[in-house]
């Protein structure tokens, strides 16, 4: 990365789905997903699939570093008639952004009341906390992760806020030391 303090990557095109319900955990496990046992935690399995447990029985599953075909297949099962009655699909057409770089903590301190500093310091590649909070006035799901370029945070945002969130984040990021906008491919390399 050049001198800019921040890198933003648009990860919205990654395949993902959400599900919830009393049967959701068992259903995901039966399909081979690594389901975190505790709410507000996430794991990334060896295939690169992230499973985030948002609450006791709500999950977000995304092909973060791979596993896109499996995720697509599960999505089809979720929306088919064969879905168990106690597993409910949750549409997830989120705007998904990765924020990384040395300016990440300073940026987050302007837009969010959660103390991310220790979370970024402890960020790991394959597991971590899931934070449901508000950033720049918008409810988001945030996950600190250790990426190829160091610690950062991935943020999922309701798509109706996408324009506002993106433009505001750019504005704040520019003031925090400049932004590089990068695009990440499915296996986690940046271009």
């Amino acid at each position: 990365m050049s001198e800019a303090a921040l890198r933003f990557e648009d990860l919205s095109s990654r395949r993902r789905f959400g599900c919830k319900g009393p049967g959701a955990e068992a259903w995901l496990s039966a399909r081979g997903y690594h389901v975190p046992p505790m709410p507000n935690t996430a794991v990334v399995d060896a295939a690169g699939v992230l499973v985030a447990r948002l609450a006791t029985s709500e999950f977000l599953v995304e092909a973060a570093d791979g596993g896109g075909d499996d995720v697509s297949s599960t999505m089809q099962q979720l929306t088919s008639a064969g879905r168990p009655p106690d597993v409910y699909p949750v549409a997830r057409f989120d705007l998904v952004l990765s924020i990384s770089g040395p300016g990440t903590d300073a940026l987050l301190r302007q837009i969010c009341s959660v103390h991310f500093t220790p979370l970024l310091a402890d960020a790991k590649r394959h597991a971590g906390p899931v934070i449901l909070t508000s950033m720049i006035g918008v409810g988001v799901v945030a996950c600190p992760r250790l990426g190829d370029l160091g610690p950062g945070v991935t943020v999922w945002i309701d798509p109706s806020f996408a324009h506002y969130f993106w433009t505001t984040l750019l504005e704040v990021g520019d003031e925090t030391g400049g932004v590089i906008i990068g695009k990440s491919n499915a296996v986690g390399h940046t271009t």
């Binding site: 057409f93 103390h115 309701d158 798509p159 109706s160 806020f161 506002y164």
Partner: protein, 969 residues
């Protein structure tokens, strides 16, 4: 006043001079000077005019604990009003002027108001200016007189971003106790954020030296340790503006606000020195002893040449010794007490040894003006002297040190409980909420070493509570050796002008008169007299006002209570509060499509929606009317993606909907929809929507645009509270929706779906899931706009393609995209209500003329109990329709009042000129008896009244045939 030779510890940098204008005077100061101190160093004694009487005022606190030093500053790019001169570092090139003058500080034409003071007693404005004829003149006069600084409309816009900060222990105040608290907490392992409103650390430890360097050296040692500690961050020139729940504290720095969250908070904000109240105590040259000490030690300014010190504590003696140390002629020390306190003995002896007269039992009579208008002499009596003997001292300065008031506003905001402690004559916290600690003077501890010890104890406990260290119980401070505050330093004079509140020009008689008029509680006295309501918010006046009130009532202060201390602690620039505001805006998936179609945007809740679409050579009204006609006669397409969209799943989903809506849903057939009205516990209408049943345990329902987020949270709460087996999924932002409506709607839609759209297959109010233009959709046959219509809901990623497909096919039928304004008229023609427009926060379900939507026979729904009660009572209002003749020259607007027998009997909720009907139609909430009549009288903008004919809604297609239009093939 003059600049002294270099003083150890001074804050000014003599190698960097600064020049600026004050009024028409060219002033030189140094880097590090504040505006006030630079003026003082140049002998400027009058720095402002008082608020009401325009009396000349000089420095009182040099700490912004009063509003004497409030100025207008013309800087590089703008003129800034109400700059606090005591605490604002001066910059070269500034043009500084006093606020609140007409004609300049020296020749303020409004000084004449001082002579009119007998006609301007406390609360005079409540008793005068009642004449309707004269009021406009009074209003103009007050508008020109009122206010302090002036806003510069040309000022360039600044963006001051706020940010968050975090720490384990937040210490507010860097005097000796605060420094000690910070060090102890940090030594125990906590991360500490230390906040100090001054530019330098040390508080009174830096300047209240008593003529020796020991106190300052002790303080400097603490400050250096703090600066070098790896776990302490220091924010100087920053003050804590308030205290909010969960240890949230806004910190106001020079450039922006920092929203700090701490694990524990230590309040070490010290105390405000209080003025003695005597005739002439507001003359320039009369100041607090601490102000004189600040000037001498921090800015190397001699406040006067010859002074008298008025005291009632050891701090006054210390100030006298400080004056002597700087070559000032201290001609006497006058002690209000009969004898010195035990802590003052050494200082008294030293002063006497140096030949300074010390008199006990002093009774201040007045400070008298000299030739220049500032103080020239001080007159006093002695209790031991024969009655009416008065003594006069020629002085050019009077230093007052008669007591302190704790800076405990933040503790009050944190819900601390206070008790009045006689041994220190101040309120002291006796109960603090978890995580909040107080130390030092605010905790009633005054001797230096005891403050340091108290601070260490508070810091230790603050850190231990978070797991750093093991101390957990606060130690009680030792009893004071000497009371720092006189119990009643107030000496009324026959000629008045013994100022209690310098900001508001209130003297003793004002407060006594207010009490006599019945405003004899702390809150009433404050509001009637305005004591404590000026820019300094009572820092120098509240306690003396309480003392006067207590004496008037013959009660102890402890029985009176205090007024409520609210944020902000000091005035905060509006730019800091405004900062960068985050105002989220939502857009539908079709936003760029609308932009391309020429949409004119409007806000709808936090969404932006097309109000209408621009048509060349047509006005707004014409374009909207055309959109209405298009829907009525052909086909239109509107983006309704802003609607709340929620799924309910599970075995208890039907039961859940039965409880939250007042219609029946348990008996709704799969594949059908029903209108739902949602109430609160009081029976007030809070939302409405369409509920569709997709399966035995699968439901899909809509909410109003503005309510979706709030409702989803509330529904989730209810589901949890009731313990029902129901899963709620919020699709609002992830799904798009549009309404295809008009006689040709079926013809357009059938080109893109294999779904059988015949009446038999998809009847009115039916819901189906099917592909439309290849996208999975939910199609609801509903009739909000009163025509054959299909509301199509689909994942947002498919919205653009389907929208374009429908428009392309619809072009054969002259399809028209239509916006919110056309939709509002179309639904008004059908008499369909909009919740929040045709209802308000007090409209209950019985008043909206929709009995078919309420099933009182159900076992339970939210609001049912209230409706039963309301049904027994006379109805307060009801919704009616009205029309005006086509030729009516004037039309009402929304919220215009319905008048009956000369009084308000209702209001218009929706109104507009119907293109379909060719006349003005509307809805109004009115007293029920009017609904049975024929006419309404509506008062319009110019006060005129017009007549409208009561008409039963719907105004158009009352039987609903258009919505149920059969398949014509």
């Amino acid at each position: 006043m003059k600049r002294l030779p270099p003083v150890k510890g001074e804050l000014i940098d003599r190698s960097r001079p600064v020049q600026f204008w004050f009024e028409d005077l060219w002033v030189q100061g140094y880097r590090g000077d504040t505006i006030s101190t630079a003026l003082a160093a140049n002998g400027v004694r009058v720095i402002g005019r008082s608020f009401k009487y325009h009396r000349p005022r000089g420095l009182l606190s040099v700490a912004d604990h009063d509003a004497n030093a409030m100025v207008q500053v013309l800087g590089n790019d703008r003129s800034i009003p109400n700059v606090r001169a005591d605490v604002t570092a001066v910059q070269s090139g500034w043009q500084v002027s006093a606020v609140n003058t007409k004609g300049g500080l020296a020749k303020d034409r409004l000084a004449i108001l001082g002579r009119l003071s007998p006609f301007l007693p406390v609360g005079f404005y409540y008793k005068a200016f009642h004449s309707k004829r004269w009021f406009p003149r009074w209003e103009r006069m007050f508008r020109s007189l009122a206010g302090l600084g002036e806003i510069d409309g040309r000022a360039a816009r600044r963006s001051t971003a706020k940010r968050y900060d975090f720490c384990d222990v937040l210490v507010i105040g860097a005097g000796p106790s605060g420094l000690s608290a910070a060090l102890t907490a940090a030594d125990q392992g906590a991360s500490v954020l230390l906040v100090e409103e001054s530019a330098s650390l040390g508080g009174s430890g830096a300047y209240a030296r008593g003529g020796s360097g020991e106190i300052a050296e002790r303080t400097v040692t603490l400050a250096l340790a703090v600066r070098s500690h790896s776990r302490i961050r220091v924010l100087a020139n920053t003050y804590a503006a308030g205290y909010y729940a969960d240890h949230w504290v806004p910190l106001i720095g020079p450039e922006c606000m920092i929203k700090a969250r701490a694990g524990s908070v230590v309040v070490a904000q010290g105390a405000y020195e209080q003025p003695a109240v005597f005739h002439g105590n507001d003359l320039p040259g009369v100041m607090l002893a601490s102000a004189a000490q600040r000037l001498m030690y921090q800015y190397a300014v001699a406040p006067a040449g010859r002074v008298v010190v008025l005291t009632a504590n050891q701090q006054g003696y210390a100030a006298a010794l400080d004056g002597l140390a700087h070559g000032i002629d201290v001609c006497a020390v006058l002690d209000l007490r009969e004898e010195p306190g035990s802590a003052s003995g050494v200082a008294v002896s030293e002063l006497i040894r140096r030949g300074i007269p010390v008199h006990f039992g002093a009774i201040p009579v007045e400070a008298a003006a000299g030739k220049g208008g500032d103080v020239g002499s001080f007159v006093f009596g002695l209790r031991a002297a024969p009655r009416r003997t008065e003594y006069r001292l020629d002085v050019d300065g009077v230093w007052m040190s008669v007591g302190f008031a704790p800076a405990n506003a933040l503790l009050h905001q944190a819900s601390a409980r206070m008790e009045y402690v006689r041994s220190v004559e101040q309120f002291v916290p006796y109960s603090l909420p978890a995580g909040v600690f107080a130390c030092g003077k605010v905790n009633g501890v005054y001797p230096l070493e005891e403050r340091i010890s108290d601070g260490a104890d508070a810091g230790a406990c603050a850190a231990a509570r978070l797991g750093f260290g093991t101390v957990s119980t606060r130690r009680l401070p030792p009893p004071p050796r000497e009371c720092p505050t006189h119990s009643y330093p107030i000496f009324p004079h026959a000629r008045g002008k013994e100022f209690v509140d310098f900001d508001e020009d209130l003297h003793v008689r004002d407060l006594e008169n207010a009490c006599q008029e019945g405003f004899d509680s702390s809150e009433l006295l404050k509001r009637f007299s305005t004591v404590g309501m000026g820019p300094s918010q009572g820092k120098h006046s509240n306690m003396n006002a309480l003392r006067i009130l207590a004496r008037y009532r013959g009660e102890g202060i402890e029985r009176l209570g205090t007024t409520t201390a609210r944020p902000m602690f000091h005035p905060v620039p509006l730019a800091h509060l405004a900062g960068r505001g985050f105002t989220p805006e939502r857009r539908t998936a079709l936003d760029t499509e609308h932009e391309a179609l020429g949409a004119v945007w409007m806000p709808a809740g936090n969404w932006r929606r097309p109000e209408y679409y621009i048509v060349a050579d047509k006005s707004r009204e014409q374009a909207i009317a055309d959109e209405v006609r298009a829907v009525r006669n052909r086909v239109g397409l509107i983006d309704v993606g802003t609607l709340g969209k929620i799924e309910a799943h599970g075995p208890d989903a039907a039961e859940f909907l039965e409880r939250v809506y007042c219609a029946r849903f348990a008996n709704l057939k799969i594949g059908m929809t029903r209108y739902g009205l949602m109430l609160d516990e009081a029976g007030i209408v809070v939302d409405d929507g369409v509920v569709g049943r997709l399966g035995e345990e699968a439901w899909y329902f809509t909410t109003t645009t503005g309510n979706s987020a709030t409702l989803f949270r509330e529904l989730g709460r209810l589901a949890t509270w009731w313990g029902l087996n129901v899963g709620l999924v919020n699709l609002t932002g992830h799904y798009a929706a549009f309404n295809l409506a008009g006689p040709a709607a079926r013809s357009v839609l059938r080109e893109h779906t294999a779904l059988d759209l015949s009446d038999a297959s998809l009847p009115y109010l039916g819901i189906r899931e099917a592909l439309v233009a290849g996208a999975p959709c939910r199609i609801m046959r509903v009739g909000f706009v009163g025509e054959l219509g299909y509301e199509i809901h689909l994942p947002a990623i498919h919205a653009v393609d389907v929208w374009r497909s429908l428009l392309a096919t619809g072009s054969r039928f002259h399809i028209q995209p239509f916006g919110v304004e056309a939709q509002r008229m179309l639904r008004l023609e059908k008499g369909h209500i909009i919740v929040g427009q045709d209802t308000d926060g007090v409209t209950n379900a019985l008043e909206v003329d929709a009995p078919w939507a309420i099933r009182m026979e159900k076992p339970f729904f939210i609001g049912q109990r209230s409706l039963r009660i309301l049904a027994q009572q006379p109805r307060r209002q009801t919704l009616v329709g009205f029309t005006l003749p086509p030729e009516a020259p004037s039309h009402p607007k929304e919220c215009h009042l319905v008048i009956h027998d000369g009084r308000i009997a209702g209001r218009v909720t929706s109104v507009g000129v119907s293109p379909t009907l060719g006349r003005c139609i509307g809805l109004a909430l009115v007293e029920p008896h009017l609904a049975d009549g024929k006419r309404l009288h509506i008062r319009i903008e110019n006060g005129a009244q017009i007549e409208a004919d009561i008409a039963r809604a719907p105004f158009y297609d009352p039987k609903g045939d258009r919505q149920r239009m059969g398949d014509q093939g």
